[in-house]
C-alpha cells in the first residue's frame, strides 16, 4: 500500500458543477488540486450505450436508492460529476426561491442582484441559450397538448455548443458539444496549473481546533470499489472546498466527525421527486433521439393553494432505464416494452422543501461506515404526485395519445382520461407502488445566517471550521424548482469570487 502527501493552497473535493467551476477560477491565483472519486472518462469513451455508461458515470450504476429502496436516484459520478451526464437543461434560479431563502433562512449573499453577473458569465461561457433547433417529437407532442389546454410553456435553455441533436446526453456527450465542467472548466483549470486526481475517494477530513488539516483519500476502481492494493493520498492545504454534491457532501462531513452542535448535517435533503407518465401514440415517437429536453412548463410550479408545485418536462426514453422503472414482470412488463418506440414521456418534478409537510430527507447512518438517504413519504407529497400524474395525462390525451400509463405498479395503459382519474382516485399510495424517481439531489448542508439552523454561512464556509467551504448543491436550503446545474455553477462562481477576495 503506497502513501503520498500532496500539498496545495486549496484542495477541491469533487469536480461537478460546484468543484469544476471553482477550480477554474481559483487556479488563476492559487495552487489547486482537484480530487474526484469517479473515473476520468472523455468523449472517446462515450459510446451511447446504457450498459457501459451507467456503471462508470453514475452513483450506484444509475440507481442510487433511498434507504427504503423506494426511490431511484440518478446522480453523476465521473470527472465532471452530474454535468457530464445531465440532459443539458439550464435555468437561472427562480426569484421566488431566492426570496424565500432570504426571508426564511437569512441567505443574503445569493440574491438576484448579486447573482446577475455570474448568471451572465456562466451562460456565456457554457453556451447556455434557448434551444434553437426543432424540439424532438417527444417534446413537441407535449407542447401541442399544453398549447391546446392553454398551459404556459417555453423553450429550454441548454448548455451546448454545436449540438448534433443525438439524444444521448445522459450517457456522456460523444461530440463534446455539451459544456460540462469536464470539457469546459476542468481543462482550463489544468491549463492554469491545477492537478486532477481521479479515482481517489476522500474518506475523511482530519481536523484540529477550527481547521481542517488534511483530507485522506484512497484509490478506487472505476466502479467505486477499493482497490486490492489501494494507494493512499494525504492532501494538505490551507483551504478545503467540499463539492461532492447532495448526499455525498453530508456523508463526508459525518464520516469525519465534524462538529455539528445543532444536528443540521444531512438534514433537509431534497430530490425534486419526479413522477412519470408514459403515453402511447399511434405514430412512432422515438423519444430516444434528439435533444432530450427542449420544452418545459412552470404553469403548475407555484400553485396558490400551497399544494406541492411541480415543473413539467419530457425525459429521454432509453430501453434499460425505462424497463427498470416499469416495475412489473412477465407479459405485463413485456407488453409495455413492445410499445417502446411509441412512448411519449412526460415528467413532473416536485418542488420540495417549501411546505411544513415537505421538509426533505435525512442522510443517516445505516450500518458501519454506511450511509443513506431517508426520504419521507406522506399525504401532502402523495397528493401532489397524484395531481401531477393527472395533469400529465390530461396533456398527453390532449396531444392525441391513444393511452396513458401513470407509472404505478398497479396501473395499466388507460384509454381515457376518466379511466386515469378513476385509477388515481382509488390507487394505493404505498411507496413501492407509486413510482417516484429523482435526478436532482439538493440540500443536506444548508446555507443560512443562523448557525442553529444551517451548516454553512453566507460565504459557504462551514460554521465550525475556518478553512472548510462547501460550494455545491448541498448548500440549498430547499429545492430550486428548476434543474440545478446553472444555479450550482453560478453560486460556485459567486462564492469563489468572495473567497478569492478574502484569502488573496
Amino acid at each position: 500500500m503506497s502513501e503520498q502527501v500532496v500539498e496545495a493552497d486549496i484542495v477541491i473535493i469533487g469536480t461537478g458543477a460546484g468543484g469544476g467551476e471553482a477550480a477554474k477560477l481559483l487556479s488563476k491565483h492559487f495552487k489547486v488540486v482537484m480530487v474526484e472519486e469517479g473515473p476520468h472518462r472523455t468523449s472517446d469513451d462515450f459510446k451511447m450505450k446504457e450498459s457501459t455508461a451507467y456503471p462508470e458515470l453514475y452513483q450506484d450504476s444509475g440507481a442510487r436508492l433511498t434507504v427504503d429502496g423506494a426511490i431511484k436516484i440518478l446522480q453523476g459520478k465521473s470527472v465532471g460529476g452530474s454535468t457530464t451526464v445531465n440532459w443539458t437543461s439550464s435555468f437561472r434560479t427562480p426569484l421566488e426561491t431566492l426570496n424565500h431563502w432570504n426571508k426564511e433562512y437569512g441567505v443574503n449573499s445569493l440574491t438576484q442582484e448579486s447573482l446577475l453577473p455570474h448568471f451572465s458569465r456562466i451562460e456565456d461561457e457554457y453556451g447556455i441559450a434557448p434551444w434553437d433547433g426543432e424540439p424532438n417529437l417527444n417534446n413537441q407532442l407535449m407542447a401541442n397538448g399544453m398549447s391546446n389546454l392553454g398551459i404556459r410553456h417555453g423553450v429550454i435553455p441548454r448548455n451546448v455548443k454545436g449540438c448534433l441533436n443525438l439524444g444521448y446526453c445522459g450517457m456522456g456527450c460523444p461530440t463534446n458539444a455539451k459544456q460540462s465542467t469536464l470539457v469546459n472548466a476542468i481543462p482550463r483549470a489544468i491549463e492554469n496549473g491545477a492537478k486532477l486526481f481521479s479515482q481517489f475517494r476522500v474518506e475523511r477530513l482530519l481536523w484540529k481546533m477550527d481547521k481542517i488539516v488534511e483530507a485522506l483519500a484512497y484509490s478506487v476502481t472505476p466502479n467505486g470499489r477499493h482497490e486490492a492494493n489501494k494507494k493512499t493520498l494525504r492532501f494538505k492545504a490551507r483551504h478545503f472546498l467540499l463539492c461532492g454534491g447532495g448526499i455525498n457532501t453530508p456523508i463526508l462531513l459525518m464520516k469525519s466527525d465534524l462538529p455539528d452542535p445543532y444536528f443540521n448535517i444531512g438534514n433537509r435533503t431534497f430530490l425534486h421527486p419526479v413522477t412519470i407518465s408514459l403515453a402511447q401514440f399511434k405514430q412512432k415517437v422515438e423519444a430516444y433521439q434528439g435533444a432530450p429536453q427542449s420544452i418545459y412548463s412552470d404553469h403548475f410550479l407555484w400553485p396558490e393553494d400551497n399544494s406541492l408545485g411541480f415543473k413539467i418536462e419530457a425525459p429521454p426514453i432509453h430501453p434499460a432505464l425505462t424497463s427498470s422503472l416499469i416495475n412489473n414482470h412477465g407479459n405485463e412488463a413485456s407488453d409495455m416494452m413492445k410499445k417502446f418506440a411509441h412512448f411519449q414521456g412526460t415528467i413532473a418534478l416536485g418542488r420540495d422543501g417549501f411546505h411544513e409537510q415537505s421538509q426533505g430527507g435525512r442522510v443517516v447512518m445505516t450500518g458501519s461506515e454506511r450511509f443513506g438517504l431517508d426520504y419521507p413519504w406522506n399525504d401532502y407529497l402523495t397528493d401532489g404526485y397524484k395531481k401531477a400524474l393527472l395533469t400529465m395525462a390530461t396533456i398527453q390525451f390532449e396531444a392525441g395519445a391513444e393511452s396513458v400509463y401513470p407509472l404505478h405498479r398497479f396501473a395499466r395503459p388507460y384509454k381515457t382520461l376518466s379511466d386515469v382519474k378513476n385509477f388515481l382516485a382509488s390507487c394505493s399510495v404505498d411507496r413501492y407502488d407509486l413510482q417516484v424517481v429523482s435526478a436532482h439531489v439538493m440540500g443536506g448542508a444548508a446555507m443560512g445566517s443562523d448557525e442553529k439552523k444551517s451548516v454553512v454561512d453566507n460565504y459557504g464556509r462551514f460554521h465550525q471550521m475556518s478553512n472548510l467551504f462547501i460550494f455545491d448543491g448541498s448548500i440549498f436550503p430547499t429545492s430550486l424548482g428548476v434543474n440545478p446545474t446553472e444555479s450550482i455553477l453560478s453560486f460556485s462562481s459567486l462564492l469563489t469570487h468572495q473567497l478569492i477576495e478574502k484569502i488573496k
Binding site: M48, S323, N331, S334, M337, T366, R409
Partner: protein
Amino acid sequence: MLDRRHFLKWGVLLTFMPLPALSKEIGFIRLFADVALQGSSYNDSQFEVWNSSFQQAVSFRPIHEQEELSRLLSALDFAPSRWLLGGPWKSWSLERRSDLDLMLSSWKTSRFSLLKKGYSGLISLTQSSWYALDPSWPGIDYPGPPSKWWAT
C-alpha cells in the same frame, strides 16, 4: 398465508442465512429470467448472455444490496423459507414456472415492505440487464444508438 409473527421469524432467519455465491443459484436464476422476461423476445438460449449482463449489474450494486440479494436467493433455495416466502415446498425446476409467477405476484401485493422492496429490486435488475443488451432491441423496435453522426 404468512402472518406477521411468522414473517418476523423469517426475517430473523434470513439475516442468519449463509451468503452463497450468486453463481450457486444458477438454476433458480435461469427460471427467474424465464418468468420475469416472459413475453419479451428473450428465450432460454439467450440465458448465458443475459446472465453475464445480470451478474455484472449485480456486481455494480453496493455491497449491502448484493448481500441482501444473496440471502434472498439462499432463502428461496431452502424449502421452509421458500414456502414462507410464498413459493412451493418442492425445489425449483423449469416445471415450476407458474409457481414462481404466483410467488412474484404475491410479493407485489404483499403487506410486507421487505417483499415489495425485494420484488422491485430483483425485477428492475432483471429487466434492465436484458434491455441493456443489443439482442433485446429488435423486439422493442429500438434501432440502437446512431452510428453515423454526420447524417443527423
